[in-house]
Amino acid sequence: MIALIQLILSRVALGLLTLLIVSAVIFLSVELLPGDLAQEILGQRATEESVAAMRRDLGLDRPLIERYVSWLGGALRGDFGVSLANGRAIQDLIGERFINTLLLAAYTASIAVPVAISLGLAAALYRNSIFDRMVNVTTLITISFPEFFVGYILILFLSSKLGWFPGISNIRGDVGFFEFLYKTFLPALTLTLVITAHMMRMTRAAIINLLARPYIEMADLKGMPRRRIILKHALPNALAPIINVIALNMAYLITGVVLVEVVFVYPGLGQLLVDSVSKRDVTVVQAACLIFASVYIILNLTADVLSIVTNPRLMHKK
C-alpha cells in the first residue's frame, strides 16, 4: 500500500513538473519573436523612444526569470495580464468562454464515452462479424473527415434543409439547461462523431488484445458462461486500457473543440484563441495555450493515476 501511494505521488510530481516545463516553453516561445513584444505591438516604424517606453510599461526591461515567475504567479491566480489588441484584462475575456468550452466538452464526452466504449466492446466481442466489419469501415471513414466537414454537413442537412437545429450556437445571455442542450446540439454531435470513431477503434483493439490472454481461455476451459468471462475475467483487467483510451481521446476533443467552435460561432475559448492568433495577440494566445495544455496534462495525469489504481498487479504489490 505504501509502495502504491509512493508510485502515485511520484506520478503526480512528474505531472506537476511537466506542467511547469510546459508553462516555461509557452512563456519562452514568445522570446523567439523577431524583435520583441514592444516592437511587435508598435510596428516597425515606431520610434526608439516609444518602443523603450512600451518596454518599460510591459516590464520587458526586467530579467527573463523574474518576468516568467511573475507571469506564472499571475496565471495561478487567474491573472494573465492584458490583451495586446484591446487592452482588456485577459481574465475577463477568458472567464466565461472557458466555462462554455468546458460545458461543450462535457456535453460531448457524456454522449461519446458511453457510446464509443459499448460499441467498441461489441465490435471486439463479435470480432470479424458483419457488424465488426461495418464498424471498421464506418469508423475509418469518419476519422478521415475533417471536423469542419462533419460540422458543415450537419448544418447543411439538420439546419439549412430541415431546420431542426440552429446552425449557429448563440448562447449569449441567459439560457436554460435544455435550451443550452438544444442550441449546442450540432457542435456536440460533430465532436461526438469524430471522437467516437477514434475511441471505438482503440477500445476494440484493447479488448481484442485482452481477450487473447491465456487466462481468458482458461476461464473458457473452466466452463464459465460467456457473460461471466466478460464481466468477471475480462472487465477488471480492461479498466486500465479503457481509461487510457478515454484520456487519449479527450486530447482529440481539445483539438476538435477549437475547430468546431469556429464552425458554429460558439463563444468558447477555442474561438478566442483562433481570433487572437489572426490578430497576433500574443498574450491572449499564451494564456489560452496554457489553459488548454494544463487541462490536457491534468487529464493525462488523472488517467495515469486511475490506471495504476485499477491495475491489480500494481494494487497488490509482492
Binding site: 466537414f149 446552425g167 483539438t255 495555450c289 490536457y296
Partner: protein, 272 residues
C-alpha cells in the same frame, strides 16, 4: 505485388484507384483545369452551369479549376511536410535507440514535453510567433508531428536492438552506420511505411484545419481548407458547393486510410 493486389479487399481497391486519380489531377492540373487558378472569371457565387461546371466562389473564380489546383497545392504541401516529419523523426529515433545513454534520455524527455501540449494548440502558438506563411506552416507541423514518428521509430528500433542478431553484429565490431543500414532499417521499414500513410493523413488534416481557420495556406493560392472557409456562407442557404473541397480532403484521407488498413492487416496476418 500483383498477386497481393488481386487478393486485396474492395476497400483497398477503392483506395488505390482514388490515389491514382489524385496523382493524375496533380500532374495534369494545368491541362485539366478549364480556368486559371487565381483569375476572376465571373460574378460571385454563380450557380452550377455550362460555363462554370461547379459555379464560382466568393470572388468569382471558377470553383472546379480551384478544386483541381487545390489538389496540387494542398496535397503537395502535406506530402512535403510528411517527408520532413519522417526524415526528422526516423533519424532521431534511430539515433536515440542505437546510441542510447544520455542522448536518448535528452531527446526522449524533450519529445515528452513537446507531446504534452496538444499539437494544434502548440501549432497555433508557434504560428502566431513565426507568422502564417507556408514555410513556417510546413516547419512547425513537421517538427511537432515528428515527435510521434520519433516514438515509433525508437520503439521499433528497440525491438530490433534487443534481438540476438543485433548483439552479434555489435560484438563483431560493426560500425554504427552498418548497424543501422543492414540490421535495423530492413527490419523496421514495414511498420514505418504504414505509419507514413497514417502521418500523411494526420498532417493533411491538420494543415487543412489550419487553412480553414485562415492560419495555413494563404490566399490567393487555391487550397481546399481555405476554400471551405471562403464559401461557408453558402451552406446556410442549403448549397452543397462549399462542401466539395472538404469532401475532396475526406476522400483522399479515406483512400490512404483504407490502403494502410489493408497493409497493416496483411502484416499482422503474416506474423501469425
Amino acid at each position: 505485388m500483383w498477386n497481393d493486389l488481386k487478393k486485396a479487399p474492395l476497400t483497398a481497391w477503392f483506395g488505390i484507384v482514388t490515389i491514382a486519380f489524385y496523382i493524375v489531377l496533380i500532374i495534369f492540373a494545368d491541362v485539366l483545369a478549364p480556368f486559371d487558378e487565381t483569375s476572376i472569371v465571373g460574378r460571385k457565387f454563380e450557380p452550377w452551369g455550362a460555363e462554370f461546371l461547379l459555379g464560382t466562389d466568393n470572388l468569382g473564380r471558377d470553383m472546379l479549376s480551384r478544386l483541381i489546383y487545390g489538389a496540387r497545392n494542398t496535397v503537395s504541401i502535406a506530402l512535403v511536410t510528411t517527408m520532413i516529419t519522417f526524415a526528422l523523426g526516423v533519424f532521431m529515433g534511430l539515433m536515440a535507440a542505437t546510441l542510447g545513454g544520455w542522448l536518448d534520455q535528452l531527446i526522449s524527455r524533450l519529445v515528452d514535453v513537446l507531446m504534452s501540449i496538444p499539437m494544434l494548440i502548440f501549432a497555433l502558438l508557434l504560428l502566431t510567433i513565426f507568422g502564417t506563411n507556408v514555410v513556417s506552416l510546413v516547419l512547425v507541423i513537421a517538427i511537432l508531428d515528428s515527435t510521434r514518428v520519433f516514438r515509433l521509430a525508437r520503439a521499433v528500433a528497440m525491438d530490433v536492438i534487443v534481438m540476438d542478431f543485433f548483439e552479434a553484429a555489435q560484438l563483431r565490431g560493426e560500425g554504427l552506420l552498418w548497424q543501422i543500414r543492414r540490421e535495423i532499417l530492413p527490419n523496421v521499414m514495414p511498420p514505418l511505411i504504414a505509419e507514413f500513410g497514417l502521418r500523411f493523413c494526420f498532417v493533411f488534416l491538420v494543415i487543412s484545419a489550419l487553412s480553414f481557420l485562415g492560419l495555413g495556406i494563404q490566399p490567393p493560392t487555391a487550397d481546399w481548407g481555405s476554400m471551405v472557409r471562403d464559401n461557408a456562407t453558402l451552406i446556410t442557404f442549403g448549397e452543397v458547393t462549399p462542401l466539395l473541397p472538404a469532401a475532396a480532403i475526406a476522400w483522399l484521407t479515406i483512400a490512404v486510410n483504407f490502403v494502410v488498413d489493408w497493409k497493416l492487416h496483411q502484416a499482422s496476418g503474416l506474423k501469425s
